[in-house]
Symmetry: C2
Subunit: 313 residues, 2 copies
């Protein structure tokens, strides 16, 4: 799609292509096939247009539950959502691609990617831009492999630095702040990047979105291939299920995309596809001192730098 | 404790006694023993006093995970919590007893009880009373036994009608409205009662709290005894785990007590003891038409009356 097309159309086209590329790559890795549900956006007020295409891979070989969701829809901001965004309630357009993959093996990290473009289509001034890109990607390992964390962050840093010098370190810090559970004193995982309200120079922001999608395709499949053969047993599975509980806590208490989706009456099953397949909550679980589980907690409590920022790679 | 003692002291004494009585009864039913953790309330600001006593029974015979929590503490309302309560940020005192029992058998319903007394201790006017009781109790079956639903509601209605004629039907409706998941279009369970900001005639409100505690002791143990012998298999277990997911969704997205606790920096493990031990999220799960699972959903989507309100019992 050329530069003459509207930004909304170009964003939707990019996200559509990314969904296809990502699903093809995950199917190649896993051997299974995504199930697809095409849906219409139909909020109760009747002011919705458009919809989405949800793809789910469940109970498969590498992936225990994974979803890759595409949406492009028009609706009306509820007063509550408008207040949170600090804009007037008005019509909006939103398109995005979003994925969460929960691997079966506790040695393969859970991964999240979201890229979105939002346009406010009402009249009037606001302290927000009229249109912006947002998104990010973060990695949630159950066992820490420093090599994996570095590889994931390096791929993201290349995409960010192509967008703007210094962007990676800003977006990395925003990610550490965003994917944080105050009541646990823990980050959700080993981070990645997070950005929002990118409005200046939309062509470059679109390229950033494309670059972040490419970074996912470069890093996560390689990490998954490297770790899928590692052995694990009941103890590692237990730890994975307990850590997945933190993922649920983050998504349901804090995640803006989840709450935005639910409050704009998006399709519930597509929004909550991010929740893990099986989860455990154990009262006051504490890993043994010196264990691999404790080593992960240490990193979640004290986020680290994974890229040599002097070199930027 | 006599009527000369402060309301705060009398509420705390009642809740302390209820925790003991309830734990003794659950231990009698289950055969296992609660683990007890005594904790101090220590928010980051350093303005906390008091604490609580959390009792947990896990991986036991009847109970897969259950918690009965007592707390009595003083702190400072955060601006965010104060805004939600629509009062000025100020010191507060809160005491309460709270329980959630997740039985192992899908045939025995999950049950929740919460009773609380809150005092605002700052100066100044507000649209809220300076001190009030709140609470409620609700039942979350995985399979519907109408006899159980009626018994549970009847016990609660007796406690409410002793407090005030017509209270049961108001509190029952408030419960149906409160324990509701808009994004699912489902109630959490078959309801019970919910009340808040009871400030007029505190002696009677304290008696109501006592009556609701007694109603729990009358109804739930009898229901559990009646259903614990019912047979079940993998299919019923799956359904239980999926329905538990809705419990998590409610508690983390909507439950005022959970969010109040987390935002006032209460003890995380005591607040989140309410979360089920094992949970499953399956994409777009739909029970077969005409199945017992579908029959439950029907009641969750269209809450019923369980007590003959003409007779009030």
């Amino acid at each position: 799609m050329g530069r003459d097309a509207s930004l909304a159309d170009r964003a939707r086209a990019l996200f559509t292509r990314l969904q296809d590329e990502i699903c093809a790559e995950v199917e190649r890795l896993d051997g299974g096939r995504f199930r697809e549900d095409v849906w219409d956006y139909r909020p109760a007020g009747g002011t919705g247009l458009g919809g989405g295409r949800t793809r789910i891979l469940a109970d498969s070989v590498l992936i225990e539950k994974g979803g890759v969701n595409l949406s492009a829809l028009e609706g009306q901001l509820s007063p509550r959502i408008a207040e949170r965004l600090r804009v007037a309630a008005q019509p909006f357009f939103a398109t995005g691609v979003s994925l969460v993959l929960h691997p079966r093996s506790p040695m393969v990290p859970t991964v999240h990617l979201n890229l979105r473009y939002i346009e406010l289509r009402g009249a009037g001034e606001s302290e927000r831009p009229r249109a912006w890109f947002g998104g990010g990607s973060d990695l949630t390992p159950f066992y820490l492999y420093e090599e994996d964390a570095r590889e994931f962050h390096r791929a993201l840093s290349r995409a960010c630095e192509a967008y703007e010098v210094g962007a990676y370190s800003r977006f990395k810090q925003a990610c550490d702040e965003y994917f944080y559970l105050p009541h646990r004193g823990e980050a959700r995982g080993i981070g990645g990047i997070f950005f929002d309200y990118l409005a200046r120079d939309p062509d470059r922001a679109l390229e950033l979105a494309q670059g972040v999608g490419r970074a996912f395709l470069e890093a996560w499949p390689a990490i998954a291939e490297r770790r899928r053969g590692e052995t694990w047993g009941e103890a590692e599975r237990e730890w994975q299920l307990i850590r997945r509980g933190r993922y649920v806590e983050f998504n349901l208490i804090h995640d803006r995309g989840t709450l935005f989706g639910l409050e704009t009456e998006g399709r519930t099953e597509s929004i909550l596809m991010s929740l893990p397949p099986v989860v455990r909550w154990a009262y006051d679980h504490r890993p043994a001192e010196g264990s691999r589980e404790a080593a992960l907690l240490e990193v979640l409590r004290h986020p680290r730098e994974w890229v040599d920022s002097a070199r930027g790679v």
